[in-house]
């Protein structure tokens, strides 16, 4: 009898006649999972997991397994194009890379001369490992305006982590926390940043306790010891209630609080403003459950909070994060083995250094759009999107003339999509680098063909906080596609910053690795590198904050004119803050729950992923659906004061009857249809982007908590799937 072993590379090669296998790591999301890429005749034939990978241990998600369908998609852009008809006309002409980059360079330099470097905005979407190169380019060019998702995704974790304890603490899954509290995060199917679902799953399989905070019954919530089904947007109140129990019952780590915390007394006074009964009324969670969760979390050691983006897309963005940091801190789990660790990256020229933030002249720093309004964001080089749209449309505080989006589809992903569309239609010159002509790229003047992860050499995960860096190895070249790094390296030479870049981007990789004393060609042969792992570093060095303490009371926020203590604000739109509006729009709408296969706006073109879920769905409690005559699978109109879109009803008993849950980033890729259905199901048509609706420090939009009304659409055709008749 043959012996079967996992991932048998030799037998795999022999059975299918592959010529080669490349060890690399995926980036269909933020990346991280080790993969084996099998090729034959220079073509990718199979993607499999690499069991030796420290991230995910060879398990993959649906997206990773469909990577070849992205790389070889027939609609993929394989050469640069320039638009020859009006914006959105879909009339493109093939041009050379030289012509494309020369045109972009000429425009950039022209605007810089006439309107200042700040009139050129660079943008990227979610973390795709190009961010350091984009910042480097922008800073050297002299523009303080890089428009990212950082105001409402990961940026808040980084910035609040840094001001509180010097870095972003990561759950130490390798040492199996005995209790995990998953807070607004569905790691097992989400597009997580550091560790992946497997690391959590294995931890739970070893018997760790699980607390889940989520308005929806996810499978994680179903498996939890305690599921806290909160009213959307009340996370800060819930955290304050739990802190209240932990402090009131003296379940906190006294040594940590006594020796390593700044601002304990005022913090306790603030927490006491939120007795559990008050919190129960705010959050819809019974007081006993809040107390039970607080006790379980505080008394099971070590413990970690698996936090994610959901708490960041609210008006309480920064304070939600700070309160979760407080929970990690006062329970003694910060930097504790098996708790929540401040990992160190290997000695490299890190994202900050590579990003050349010190090269942006001070007189340009102060011009950062929205920097005086959203001052926490501003200090971390993060810009609120509306500031950019306003500058395009009104010319205030100064005109923005050019935008260059690199792996970003703001028409789909930014709040108040109609305003975004208007700004992109208006901006004088726009370039985009992407895989496809997306709804955003349709409005561009030039579109550049971006490489997928299969087509690049790179040092992956070097921006993350688990301390690993992993070599991503180029497997194939497809058309004229280029990685964002190579493209920017080339463009940099054309705008006169060549001395800070390299003849070939491989030398840029060498530069990153320089402090380690190795070059890319050597790193390429390694499986990975990890920074030295050590725990409880504060005991010898304190924390990297102004007070060297864990700042429950933030001296920096105080200095920037904010409340130094975290607090709870009602969501911008809610039954309580806007009762009149609630009468007209009687459901709380949560958005952005993840589903397998998709990464924000991506992958709707890939057959193996689209068939997993062909249409967007709106989760509705069966009782609510019945009231509106809505059946499972019906197309439903969802309306907010900003607009109206349609998604299909998914009757789901795991959501509160007062809440409905929509999906985000849905468009219907079809290069022959103008707009490609960008506003048919795009939930951001409904979201608000006014400055008042944003977190005052971070500028995060309240895209996950708004009010809506629903009705069965009289038109039941699935337009986006082409059966519109």
């Amino acid at each position: 009898m043959v012996e079967f072993v996992y991932s048998n590379v030799e037998k795999e090669m022999a059975a299918y006649g592959y010529d080669a296998v490349t060890h690399s790591h995926c980036r269909m999301c933020h990346g991280g999972c080790g993969v084996l890429v099998y090729t034959r005749n220079g073509k990718v034939e199979k993607i499999a997991g690499d069991p030796e990978s420290p991230i995910g241990h060879g398990t993959l998600c649906s997206k990773g397994l469909a990577s070849a369908q992205l790389a070889y998609h027939p609609d993929r852009l394989q050469y640069p194009v320039k638009r020859v008809g009006p914006k959105g006309s879909g009339q493109w002409q093939r041009i050379s890379w030289d012509e494309a980059l020369d045109t972009i360079a000429e425009k950039m330099l022209g605007y810089k001369e006439r309107f200042g470097a700040e009139s050129v905005v660079l943008g990227y979407g979610t973390g795709r490992e190009n961010e350091a190169a984009i910042y480097r380019f922008a800073n050297l060019f002299g523009t303080p305006n890089v428009l990212t998702a950082g105001h409402l995704c990961y940026g808040p974790r980084i910035s609040t982590g840094i001001i509180t304890c010097g870095s972003n603490p990561i759950v130490d899954y390798e040492n199996k926390p005995r209790c995990v509290m998953a807070w607004g995060n569905n790691l097992v199917i989400a597009n997580s940043d550091e560790y992946k679902g497997e690391d959590l799953s294995v931890c739970l399989d070893s018997g760790s306790k699980l607390i889940v905070v989520d308005p929806r019954l996810t499978r994680l919530a179903a498996r939890a010891d305690i599921w806290l089904q909160l009213r959307p947007g009340t996370d800060a109140a819930l955290a304050l209630g739990m802190l209240n129990t932990i402090i009131g019952e003296e379940l906190y780590d006294k040594d940590f609080v006594e020796n390593y915390v700044h601002g304990w007394e005022p913090f306790v006074a603030r927490v006491r403003e939120y007795p559990v009964d008050r919190v129960a009324a705010i959050t819809w969670i019974p007081a006993a459950k809040i107390r039970a969760a607080a006790r379980l979390f505080a008394t099971t050691k070590p413990a970690g909070i698996q936090w994610g983006v959901a708490i960041e897309q609210q008006i309480n963005c920064a304070d939600n994060n700070r309160l979760l940091l407080a929970l990690m801190g006062i329970t003694g789990n910060i930097d504790r083995q098996g708790g929540q660790v401040l990992f160190k990256t290997p000695k490299i020229n890190n994202v900050g250094k590579f990003g050349a933030h010190d090269k942006l002249p001070p007189e340009q720093v102060v011009k950062r759009l929205g920097g005086d309004r959203f001052r926490l964001a501003g200090h971390f080089a993060i810009v609120n999107p509306k500031c950019v749209w306003d500058a395009v449309v009104t010319g205030e505080p100064y005109p923005v003339k050019m935008m260059f989006f690199i792996s970003s589809n703001p028409v789909m992903t930014r709040a108040n999509a109609n305003a975004v569309y208007e700004a992109l239609e208006k901006v004088e010159f726009m370039a985009v680098a992407d895989f496809f002509i997306t709804p955003t790229a349709e409005l561009a003047d030039i579109v550049l063909p971006a490489a997928t992860w299969l087509e690049m050499d790179y040092i992956g995960d070097f921006w993350k906080r688990h301390g690993y860096i992993l070599p991503r190895r180029k497997v194939v070249q497809i058309g004229e596609c280029r990685s964002d790094h190579e493209m920017l390296n080339d463009l940099a030479h054309r705008v006169g910053q060549g001395e800070h870049w390299w003849d070939d981007f491989e030398q840029g990789l060498d530069y990153i690795l320089e402090p380690m004393g190795i070059k890319w060609q050597e790193f390429k042969k390694m499986k990975y590198a990890r920074g030295e792992v050590s725990y409880e570093k504060h005991k010898t060095r304190g924390f990297s904050t102004p007070t060297r303490k864990f700042e429950l009371y933030s001296t920096l926020l105080e200095q920037w004119g904010y409340d130094p203590l975290p607090t709870y604000r009602e969501p911008v739109e809610s039954p309580i803050s806007t009762p009149e509006r609630y009468a007209e729009y009687p459901y709380i709408l949560v958005t952005g729950a993840r589903s397998p296969g998709y990464f924000h706006t991506e992958n709707r073109q890939l057959p193996n992923l689209r068939e997993l879920q062909p249409d967007p769905f709106l989760e509705i409690h069966p009782d609510t659906a019945r009231k509106h005559g809505i059946g499972n699978g019906d197309w439903v109109l969802i309306e907010s004061p900003r607009g109206r879109v349609r998604q299909r009803a998914k009757l789901f008993g795991g959501i509160d009857p007062r809440v409905v849950g929509a999906q985000h980033a849905w468009w219907y890729p079809d290069k022959n249809v103008k707009g490609q259905g960008w506003n048919e199901s795009n939930i951001n048509v409904l979201t608000e982007d006014s400055y008042e609706s944003c977190d005052p420090a971070m500028g995060a939009n309240s895209v996950r908590t708004l009010l809506c009304r629903i009705s069965r659409d009289s038109d039941q055709r699935g337009k986006g799937r082409g059966d519109a008749a």
Binding site: M1, V2, E3, F4, V5, Y6, S7, N8, K11, E12, A14, A15, K46, I47, A48, G49, P51, G56, H57, G58, T59, L60, C61, S62, G64, L65, A66, A68, V188, I189, K196, G197, E198, S201, V202, L204, D205, S206, G207, K209, L217, R219, L220, A222, W227, P596, G597, P607, N608, L609, E611, L612, F652, G653, G654
Partner: protein, 167 residues
Amino acid sequence: MKRLAVIVDHEACWGCLACEVACKQENNADVGIKFIDVLEEPVRERNGKPHFSFNVNLCRHAECDGAPCVAVCPTDAIELREDGIVVMNIDDCVGCDLCIPECPFAAIVFNHQRSVTQKCNLCSHRVDRGLIPACADNICLAHCIYFGDPEEIRPRIEAMRRVRDRM
């Protein structure tokens, strides 16, 4: 002789659908044709708490008692191998569709594009070359897709369940 099947520990499944895509990548089934199907069960009460789980459905092979689909096929397109793998050869399938109601697990699907029935063949083309079926080859983040002899797998699933349920 060792008997073979792929067995999923449903209680451990997270519903990530990676197994479906791994099967697609391997077997290139037409759009809409799934040999392995992750089904979301409706929400119900369990131990006084709302609960739901996933059910991952595929042909049971060695675990299917008597493999009733085999006998009903008029063209002998379905073969029960000695090792318990039940292979459907679509070249011999005439699309009569008689096997579909015979299967107690709804593991056979009708492919309208080709007018044949199809099901999971336990990646017999891989197994015969000493390779683990694509869905079971370490892609599952829950490590809950087992390949091998059901008699050896069942106790392992039971042991995992005891730890997971903290018993």
